[in-house]
Subunit: 314 residues, 2 copies
């Protein structure tokens, strides 16, 4: 039987992941390619078409009903990407239209974290939970606020930029131009920045991370912390403190039942979730205390985002 | 012709205001009584019945279809007031049920700021705007987040406690037990606290407010600022800075079209709105900049809240 199919695309700052997905949320095929390293947006589109096109041919082009896209700073109302600080292309990009034309499909685009939130609610850790915050800890920090099963889009589809809430007054310079944005501290990038700064500030503290100075990754920090490296554990405590404090503000505004963590740094699991919980709870009004589940994504890698993106199509 | 009528009650930390309102939002009669000074909740209920009962008799009891209540920490899902820090009664109060029994009417209760948001959207400054933040600057700071014409209640109806977002890390002790809550700075109470602290810290700065030390009100500060008292103007700048910074966080989460200010301190108009705008804009991600209208409530005094509360009935 020839089921209808959708394509789900998760556009990340580093990689573009995609999947061919049926209406039951089964990923029948998937792949990825680098987001960076192309000379232009046109070359990126050609590369994307070059990989996805043959896969569509294999499944049969007429089975495809559309392509759903999750993109940083993606705008659900316009299908454009608006000034994404972590992408190679600047300004307002008609990404949805370009992908749609490239693949010959109807395209629907939303913010990557919102796509992940939809995927997590339909198929992942937030199944059965209809008011929650999705937090993606990748190159940047993305978020999707789900209320009553609907994404809070705001009046212009641009709601949910938790990564650009000022977490540290007069703090680190962000790509967006502000200072102290949450994502400069709490993201795969943010914890690495902290590590590099601390290695300079603390020349005498022993840590296995020192030998990787200049090329540290969030994964290395997680591995060091899992091996009880005190420096790495302190990095998680510090990162979790700033994230927990900021999440307490988000809770006071939206009162979610759960917060779901996703993306590179979320793979650290309780290394990051435990300090987040502690510092969040400390900063919560009593009516919110001890009620909110902090969950790690139940979907592997980019699956939540590509599943959520594909769910936009149906 | 005998129109159906509703009662709208706005329970404040200091006063309880109420109105008799028709389905068109016309206030046919109104009144108020002190919230404090009663020996018990039972005595408060008797006093309320003693004032509203005769008014109901005048209009004809059978015309009343219900009573809507806006209350601090009011819970729309349970009609209870949950641990309101600024009310004389502690713990969980079945306020909706008690008022309903007292007046012999179906009672619907929500948070006071959410009631004001509904009133402002139906009859006030937010008419035609369906995504906005309502901020009430009274004894405390209340808020209601409206998205697509619906209040964001969160999973337990407790969303929208912007007053208890930590605005100043390790800041002033709040009634709620946390430190640095926004409402300890940005409310009629908050600006007075700042004034009293500054009078001690700045013994040499001339200000007409000094003669009222110990019994300053937000109204006095507004009058002094309107008379170009530098101390009072600095108070608005400081208060507006903290409120603007925190509102920037709320904007990044909910992307509203407008923010409507209401309550005692909002009567200061541009004295408070101008510094709020400046500091909010400074802390906004570019996608939100210069797009958000800051509005003063278009409804006099408690009307937004009693109108909004009455709108719950229909």
């Amino acid at each position: 039987m020839n089921q209808s199919l959708a394509i789900g695309i998760d556009l990340g700052g580093t990689n573009t992941a995609f999947g061919i997905i049926n209406a039951d949320g089964e990923i029948l095929a998937k792949g990825s390619m680098p987001t960076t390293g192309h000379n232009s947006l046109e070359e990126y589109m050609l590369a994307l078409k070059g990989i996805i096109g043959p896969m569509m041919d294999d499944f049969g082009r007429d089975r495809f009903v559309g392509v759903g896209i999750g993109a940083p700073s993606g705008n659900y109302f316009t299908s454009e990407i608006d000034f994404a600080p972590n992408l190679p292309w600047k300004g307002v990009i008609p990404f949805g239209r370009l992908v749609g034309e490239s693949l010959g499909l109807k395209a629907i685009l939303t913010n990557d974290a919102k796509a992940a939130a939809i995927g997590e609610m339909k198929y992942g850790a937030a199944k059965g939970i209809n008011s929650f915050i999705m937090v993606t800890l990748g190159t940047g920090l993305g978020s999707g606020f789900m209320y009553n099963g609907q994404i809070i889009y705001g009046h212009d589809a641009l709601a949910g930029e938790l990564g650009h809430v000022i977490a540290v007054r007069d703090g680190r310079k962000c790509n967006c131009g502000l200072n102290g944005c949450l994502e400069r501290y709490a993201s795969a990038t943010g914890i690495v920045i902290t590590a590099e700064i601390w290695l300079d500030e603390r020349p005498d503290q022993p840590t296995t991370l020192r030998e990787h100075k200049g090329s540290i990754t969030a994964k290395m920090i997680t591995e060091a912390a899992n091996a009880s490296d005190t420096f790495a554990l302190e990095l998680f405590e510090y990162t979790g403190k700033i994230l927990g404090q900021t999440l307490a503000s988000a809770v006071a505004i939206t009162s979610p039942k759960a917060i779901v963590f996703f993306g590179g740094l979320a793979h650290a699991g309780n290394l990051i979730i435990d300090p987040v919980r502690r510092h969040m709870e400390e900063n919560l009004l009593y009516v919110y205390q001890n009620k909110i589940s902090l969950l790690q994504s139940a979907l592997p890698d980019a699956d939540a985002a590509i599943l959520g993106a594909s769910a936009l199509v149906w």
